[in-house]
Structure formats: C-alpha cells, structure tokens
Symmetry: C2
Subunit: 408 residues, 2 copies
Amino acid sequence: MPSSTEEVSLIAKICHKNRIPMIPFGAGSSVEGNFTAPFSGFSIDLSRMDKIIAFHEDDLDVVVQPGVNWVNLNDTLKPADPSPTAHIGGMVATNCSGTNALRYGTMKDWVVNLTVVLADGSIIKTRRRPRKTSAGYNLNSLFVGSEGTLGIITEATLKLANVPSHVGVATVAFPSVKEASNAATAMIRGGVSLAALELMDDVQMRVLNKAGGTAGRMWPEKPTLFIKFSGSERAVEDSTDASKSIATIHGGTEFVSATDEKTMDALWSARKSALWAMLAIRPEGTQIWSTDVAVPLSHLAEIVEQSKESSSKLGLFSTVLGHVGDGNFHQAVMYNPDDPEQIEGVKRCVDTMVARALEMDGTVSGEHGIGLGKKHCLEKELGTATIGLMKTLKKSLDPHWLLNPGKS
Amino acid sequence: MPSSTEEVSLIAKICHKNRIPMIPFGAGSSVEGNFTAPFSGFSIDLSRMDKIIAFHEDDLDVVVQPGVNWVNLNDTLKPADPSPTAHIGGMVATNCSGTNALRYGTMKDWVVNLTVVLADGSIIKTRRRPRKTSAGYNLNSLFVGSEGTLGIITEATLKLANVPSHVGVATVAFPSVKEASNAATAMIRGGVSLAALELMDDVQMRVLNKAGGTAGRMWPEKPTLFIKFSGSERAVEDSTDASKSIATIHGGTEFVSATDEKTMDALWSARKSALWAMLAIRPEGTQIWSTDVAVPLSHLAEIVEQSKESSSKLGLFSTVLGHVGDGNFHQAVMYNPDDPEQIEGVKRCVDTMVARALEMDGTVSGEHGIGLGKKHCLEKELGTATIGLMKTLKKSLDPHWLLNPGKS
C-alpha cells in the first residue's frame, strides 16, 4: 500500500530485480478478472494514494492521485458514470465509461497527463498540462485502457467539465426492443442533443417492479428508453420535444419528462438501480454474469434481440441494459454456480454474444475491458498481426512480463 | 505512388529489405518539415489512394483511403478545419485540428479504425468498427499523430457527425488581447455552448483591412473574438445572448451576430482569410513563419501579450491568431529569408515563445506537430525519461529506423 509515486517506483525496482509480478489494485470494482493474480506476485494497492493534489479552477483541470474515489470528486468532475466505488486510477487503466459517455466520451477523453511508474521502476510523465497538444506520441492513450499491463498510474491530471445550467430526464416505453433501438438510432442520427440514452428491456423493467418499483413508481413492463438532456433551459425543452416526436413515430408510448430534481431523480433512479434490483430478486445461491459488447449502431436492435432469445432458449433468466447511443449493451445472466449445466449455459451465452458482435464488425468489450474474462476472444476480434503488434509493445515496455501478467 | 494497401506493403517490404527510408506524403500542407527527407529514401505519395470505400450512413461512419481530400468529404464529414488542401491520411498522421476542435476535438477523436502498413511491410488493422471499445491497447491513438514514424496509414474509418440544424456566428471587439482572452475564458468556464471560439489580434485585423476588408466589410482594428454557435434555433439564440453579455462585462464592443448564411459567411470569412490577407500584403521577398503553442487556459492572455511584445521589440511584423477555447494560438512572423539578422530574429521569437509555453506547463506544439521544426524543443517539454519511452516504442516498431527518419 504505497503512499507516493516514489514508493511505487521503489516497489517496482525491487519487483523488477527479483522478477516478481506486480498487479495494481484500486477499488476492485471491475468485472473481467482485471486485477486477479494468476501468476502470484504483489498486489499493489493504491487506495492510500487518495489525495487531490491541485485544483486549477481557471484551467478547468484537477490533479489527483489514483486512489481518489470519483463520487467524492463528483461536485467538480462528472465525466463518467461507472460503479460508484471506482477509483480514478482504475478508471484510467480500464478506459472506464458509463451512461454519460454519449455526451462526454470515455476516460481517454478526459486525461490531460499521467505520471506512470514503468516496469523497471522509472517514473515518466506523459505530457505537461495543455488541454490540446500535438507533441510526440500519444502516451496518454497508450496507458489509458492498458489495464496495468504497461505501467502503474500514480498521478493523473483530468479535464473538468462545467455542470450544465439546465438538465432534463425523460422515459418512454416501446412495444419491442427493435422499435426502442430504432428510435434511439433515429435520435442520434437526427442530431438531437442528448446527454445520455439508455435502454432497459421488458425483463429488466419487470425486475424493477418486482423489487418494489423505484421511488414509489411502478413501470410499464416494456422495453424503455431513459434519456438525459442538458444545456440552456430552451435547449433542454427543444431536445425533449424532438425526442418525444421521434419516439412517437417509432411506436413510443407513455412518454414522461421532468426538469425538477425530485422527479428527475425518481425517473433516473430506475436506470441506476437496475443491477441492484436484479441482485435483490435473485434466488439464493444464484450469481449474475454481467458482460458487454459493442456493435455499429445499425446492428444494435438485431444483436440485443438475438441475445435475449438465445439466453431464454438455454433456460437462463437474463436482462438487457444498453448504452444504446454508443452501440454498447450489457446482458446480465442469472445462473447457479453449483450447477455445471448452468455454468456451461452462461458461458455459451457470452461466447455466442461475442461471436455475433464480431460478425457485425463490433468489439468483444465496449467498456468492461479484457482482463481474464475476455482474453480468449481478443485474438478473434483483432487477428494475429494486430495482437502481434500489441505483444511487441508489451515486450518493449515490460520485457520480463511483470506488470499484471496473464492479462496481455 | 501506390494505389492500394498491398502496394504500400510491397514497397515497405522492399525498403525494409534494402534499408531504404520511407517518407509518407499526402498533400504537403504541413508546416514543420513533417514530410522532408533529410536522410533521402522513398517519398511514398498516397494521393492516388483517394477513394471513399464505404459510407455507412446508419452507423454514422465512412471508410476512406488516405488520399481523400477533406473538403471533398465535407458534406458528410465536418470534424476539423485545417488547410483546405489537406488529405485524410496526413490529417490522421498529424492529429490535425482547427477552429472546429473546440466542439469536435481533434482527429484522434474521429478515428474508428486504421489500416496500417508497418515498417516490415506487414498489414494490421487497429480494430473493427464499433464506435466505442475497451478491447486491447489503443492502437488508433498510437498511430494518430505519429507523423508517419510508426507506420503508413492506408485506410481509415472515421466517425461522422450530424450537420447541426441551426448555426450562428458572432464577432466582438475588445480594447486589448487580455480583455478578449479573459472574455473567452469566461465563456468556456461559464459553460456557454460554443462551436468555435477564435481570437485575432489588432495587427491581424489591420492586415485584413489593408488587404481590402472581407466581403465588403471593414473591421474595427482591435483584438476581436470570432464565435460560432450550433444546436436548435433557440439553443443558438441562448448561446449568442450568453456570449454577448459575458463579452460586454469584459469590455467587448461592436458585437455583431448573424444566423443567415450570407452574413455568417461574411463574418467568418475574416477568420478564414487571415493567412491569405497576410500573404497578400507582405512586401516582395519576405516569408511568413507560422508556428503554434498551447498553454493551460489561464495563461493564454499572458503568453499572447508577451509574444507580441517580443516580436515587435525585435522589429519583426507579426500577427496572432488563437484557438482560444483550447488555449492554443499561432503567431505568424514576417521575415526576409535573405537577411541573416531577420532569420536569427524569427528563430529567437519562436524559441522564446516555446520556452514561455513550457514555463507555463504548456506544449511546444498545439496542433502543427513536431516534424523537424520543433524537434529540438520536444525533449525540453517532456524530459529524457519520457523521450526515452517514445524511443523505445519507435525502436520496437521500426528497429531499422526506416519510417520517416529524423522526425523521431
């Protein structure tokens, strides 16, 4: 549990000398085995490095240590919307994102510079503090999303965004996932200014009601879009109106919108509590396998419908949550870890979903990363030449294969 | 002049075998010596590879060869705003940007995937076609901005943005660069939704008038902000009003705004024709050295004022153009290439500007790249350890130093 960049560097020097694997650890909220230690070694827990080092209000940036929790930074920093326990270091290392990615992008879009300890313990800073630069290789993006396999992030300068002056939330139900997805794509393609655009399927909506609804509200048990707007008061009104008319054209009903905080929270809390509702209603002894893929926008409806069908054919209970504006969705499948047949089934579900995403020119991981869980799929996605290039990079930066080994 | 990825691969294999340097060439519009051949070798001219390979309207992306000219793609693709002659391949290789970067980001934000020929002639594709991914190292960002030193880009899939339903343009004059910069920063920090935010100094405005004004319009010869808005009709109105009141608080006068195409073009053409006006009025035999740096937002006013002062002290005529929303600005200095004293002077100007940017935690190049022109400054910016890491990457991908050598 180091408390400074220098201590991380010292640990890395010792590990490098003695060929001991190093596995950086933050909050432990990732889901693809990203921080497991299959080759033993040191788990380098960065949670004590939790300081905000500098807040440059006039430059709209903040310098933080990796152990800072994003919810604690939330009043000034709202780039993403991942697991509430996540730390900045892990968010950078996995290129994390969430419901706000549609408007704000993923973590890679918010990094100004990084201080990184390399495999041999040397310390580098990727760049200085301009918001825009064209000077040398883009080392930020090399380390963002590298899951601790190229270096250990010990400090980050992050861009800040203004909290919008006005926001709004709307929900609208559809007869089918296909119609909901088509409405979503039409909103994106129509250039409607949206801050978030999420889909929850009929099963997920039923789960919400079964868990008691949200903030006293019971929901139509149909595929539902959850939409966020932001901007000036009239810009929010315009976007709300435009979304409503596009939704209506595509069969949307029960359109509800709000701009007062209480109703907005009540509407959006359904989206926020989706996973918790699923956990609340699951039979004792079952677990949930949550995974994600992303595809080009035009294929989203098709892959969501196929994924729902294949899990139900296998007799598994599953729900779908989609960041539909990005072509990215999650399927959460319930299974009994003591039942080999169900384990086999859930694995087949995930593999089929991944294979379908690749057929559609998509990716095996839209936001969860590779870790151990998706390692076997990555070569299928990228081919041997591209994986070879990634291995060349890994070898050049970590020749003794000490940084989070087994994940790359 | 290859016409396919396979031909580029074949050329690279021959060059690799015979250790011949390869210098990719597109439109030749970069300004830091990025495509010169100081170690001889083959200039690989990609201008025959000018096909639009696929247009996926429903996925909001387009697949193009590197020799496609961005102006020709402009009806569907409006991410940047660089030299009008630029080709997509060079725009990717230099991480190009321009006045639209404030809203849309730089080239790195618009690349879905790249096909790249490596130094040994092997062909890789960085990823498939999802708009969002978290699968493996971010090879897109490794090649974007690498100026042809890591591989030759032979195909790119680019995201498309919707053309906004409404746009607006405004201009406003200020008593000083400081007040104009402060107004600009206040607009950014106030969260006003802007599509572009540009500064031209009093000298540049005088140059415009001297060259005959723009579209029949003569300008106040004061530091002037040029602002673009986009969104719904009322969103454009709101942003225009908000900018006007912030400008007024900071001493802005002569605020003019327009939403009709003719007036907008007349106003914005002043910004577009700045460089050409300078070329038009320069005395015979003189040349213009145009360079750029970027600094954290709060330092912009200071560095612009200091740079103006130091060039005028050296007796050199210079103008300032700033992408002020990004903390990035250009100084264009006029000099006589036959006068050793003036050459010395302009070099000193650039070096002082670069040194100042670094003191302010900025970068030696906000958007022009490094090439040969800024090579001597990069180590000062990043330090030996970071440059060492870049060299490690270069060596691992191009061990024989064949790709655009001398630039990295």
